[in-house]
């Protein structure tokens, strides 16, 4: 007996001598009715587990391919944004019906189908639109601020208080929103991109737009979360930035 023949130390050699021995204890007779390979296992028998390991790998690949092939049905994959329109661009898409108004203590605004009012109180309102790639959420918040507070200050405070980086992977500030305004009151805005990182939930991209404006002692913050990139220039998409524009521009400060 050599060291190299110790059990478990050299699987290949051991496999060549012991692979597939029957276990006999207890219901030995029962076990013997299911004989494993003999002590002198043939190469074919030794390769059998590898064959099934290969079969396992193929089946795993099959599951992956099934996911890939059926991803439009099983896993909704958002399409890539089309190239930007550079000339003869069509007008922004605007629903002709289904307009609704939300009135709060500090502001009112209009929203259109397919958005639906989710919640509303004196200070805030939330509208949601369900889609094949997830839910798009738009929120308005009203704040009482000190006279002289700038939109940038309100924006920074909102982002500090509400953007919980631990809930996202790869949270990235993707730049300011140029010409940000709420109800035609100039403001400041930021865009963010991230991936939702929650256990037992799909890891999907998420795009966030935040804008803030102030007037006197009132500040309004607009926040939108979408699984689609709102920077897409496709005017036929309900969830692009133009649908946000419709709501933002319809805000009336009270």
């Amino acid at each position: 007996m050599t060291t190299s023949s110790l059990p478990g130390s050299h699987g290949g050699n051991i496999a060549a001598t012991d692979a597939g021995q029957p276990r006999l204890a207890g219901n030995a007779a029962h076990r013997l009715s299911f004989p494993r390979s003999s002590p002198m296992s043939t190469p074919r028998e030794l390769h059998q587990p590898r064959r099934w390991a290969l079969a396992f790998a193929l089946a795993a690949a099959g599951v992956l391919l099934a996911c890939a092939g059926g991803n439009t049905v099983i896993i909704p994959v958002p399409p890539s944004p089309p190239p930007a329109c550079k000339a003869n661009c069509p007008p922004p898409f605007r629903p002709q019906q289904g307009a609704h108004v939300v009135q709060t203590q500090h502001f009112s605004f209009w929203y259109f189908d397919p958005y639906q009012l989710d919640s509303k109180d004196d200070q805030s309102a939330t509208v949601l639109a369900g889609g094949p790639f997830g839910t798009i959420a738009v929120q308005f918040f009203a704040y009482t601020v000190a006279n002289g507070t700038t939109p940038a200050q309100l924006l920074a405070r909102f982002e500090r208080d509400n953007l919980d980086a631990s809930k996202f992977s790869g949270l990235q500030d993707t730049g300011p929103i140029r010409g940000a305004e709420i109800g035609y009151i100039p403001g400041a805005g930021d865009t963010f991109a991230a991936v939702v990182d929650l256990p037992n939930a799909p890891n999907t991209p998420l795009f966030m737009q935040v804008m803030a404006s102030t007037r006197g002692t009132t500040g309004i913050v607009f926040a939108a979360l979408s699984p689609l990139d709102p920077q897409t220039p496709d005017p036929n998409r309900q969830t692009d930035v133009s649908s946000y524009d419709q709501m933002v521009n319809s805000v009336v400060w009270q």
Binding site: M1, S5, P7, G8, S9, G11, I14, T17, D18, Q21, R23, L24, A25, G26, H30, F34, R36, S37, S38, P39, Q48, P49, R50, W52, A55, F56, A59, A60, C67, N71, I74, I75, P76, P78, G130, G134, T135, A137, Q139, F141, N162, A165, S166, S169, G170, L171, A194, V195, V196, L198, P199, N200, P202, N203, T204, P205, L206, A223, L225, P227
Partner: protein, 393 residues
């Protein structure tokens, strides 16, 4: 010498070769028969040592366990570094496959499937993989619809989201992970050892975890090779995908299956095996320890906190699994039945056909199938070199 606990003549050594009692521990603080200081599948560790390798890979000999520990740690480090480099698709795929591939190797290394690799792999890995993929895909859209609303500023997760991801998903996952092993339990009665149950449950859990990780991360896998953002925000979730989630699923399903296999074993235990070894209690504990980290992550989540929740649940589950395995191996101990002698893979002493190694206390049924000697020919004496030294030829 005579064992004072079971009254049988036992070979010289520290442990009774028949009941596993620690003979040298009569005056110590350890209960000699329960011998909780010496885990039956690896006597050099306490039962309360939450080791992943010796708990979920109990058939491996010590040196193989040591190698596997290094491989697992090294591979996890590589996956972490890849994720740290924000090569997200590569990191996620490797993370999802890491532990299942090691377990597949373990299946082959110790020949758990005996002569039925197809049935065992289909009833464990494949069943978990297919059911995990189907279930995750089925819940993908409902959870997705709730996740955005749960991230809105100033609002917590919706009730539907909490119930779906924190309660329904883990509970249904456990039940689905048990489908394949339970079919094997019913149809393949020759796999009758408690460690068979553990391995089958763990493999099914690993298949399920792989499918869940791949389905839920599909948009990342098919997305850009390198992602922006902070490196840690990618690396920490990948650690959960690579190690904590699969090991948690494997431990939960393994715990339940081990208790099911113990319950089916017709042999009367020497003493009461305790509540933990009963299937109903095992199912309840597994459910609680699957739901708790998921619920905590939803309600009080965060990158680091999520890891803490999952790691804590994993440690508790590993301890429960070890207790059930230990109790099963000690209280329902049986000899392998080879009729000769074999070399103990733990202490390398020659051991007769007894339930325990008298020198180190290893439950001989925790040895690899490949290490067990062959059946002695009916006409040959059991002590013949052919029969007794099969493992050492």
């Amino acid at each position: 010498m005579r064992c004072e606990h079971c009254g049988r003549e036992t070979p010289e050594g520290h442990y009774c070769a028949y009941c596993g009692a620690h003979l040298a521990a009569a005056n110590t603080r350890y209960h000699p028969q329960q011998r909780r200081h010496a885990f039956a599948a690896n006597p050099s560790e306490s039962v309360y040592h939450p080791s992943v390798v010796t708990t979920l890979f109990p058939h491996l000999a010590p040196e193989r366990s040591h190698q596997l520990r290094w491989i697992l740690g090294g591979a996890a480090l590589i996956v972490f570094l890849i994720a740290f480099g924000r090569l997200v698709p590569v990191a996620i795929v490797l993370a999802a496959l890491l532990v299942p591939l090691l377990y597949l190797y373990y299946f082959y290394e110790v020949a758990i499937f005996e002569d039925e690799p197809l049935a065992v792999l289909a009833g464990t890995f494949l069943a978990g993989l297919v059911l995990g993929a189907a279930f995750s895909a089925a819940l993908y859209k409902p959870i997705l619809d709730q996740s955005t609303a749960s991230l809105l500023p100033g609002r917590g997760p919706t009730q539907t989201y909490i119930v779906l991801t924190g309660v329904v998903f883990p509970m249904a996952s456990l039940l689905l992970m048990l489908v394949g092993p339970v079919v094997l339990l019913i149809t393949r009665r020759k796999f009758d050892e408690v460690l068979d149950g553990l391995a089958f449950g763990a493999a099914s859990g690993l298949g399920f975890a792989t499918a869940q990780s791949i389905v839920f991360s599909w948009l990342l896998i098919t997305g850009p090779l390198q992602r922006p953002g902070q490196a840690f925000s990618w690396a920490l979730p990948v650690v959960r995908i690579a190690l904590l989630q699969p090991l948690l699923y494997a431990s939960a399903a393994g715990l339940v299956c081990a208790s099911l296999w113990l319950a089916r074993d017709p042999q009367t235990p020497r003493r009461s095996m305790g509540l933990l070894a009963t299937p109903l209690v095992a199912v309840l504990l597994a459910l609680i320890l699957l739901v708790a980290p998921a619920l905590a992550s939803v309600l009080f989540g965060g990158d680091v906190l999520n890891l803490v929740y999952y790691a804590a649940a994993l440690v508790l589950l590993l301890l429960l699994v070890r207790v059930v395995l230990h109790v099963g191996l000690v209280e329902k101990a049986q000899a392998i039945g080879h009729g000769g002698t074999m070399r103990c893979p733990h202490c390398f002493h020659e051991v007769g056909d007894t339930p325990f190694c008298p020198h180190c206390g290893l439950a001989m049924r925790s040895t690899s199938n490949r290490a067990r000697p062959g059946t002695p020919p009916a006409s040959a004496p059991s002590s013949s070199p052919q029969a007794s030294g099969g493992a050492a030829q």
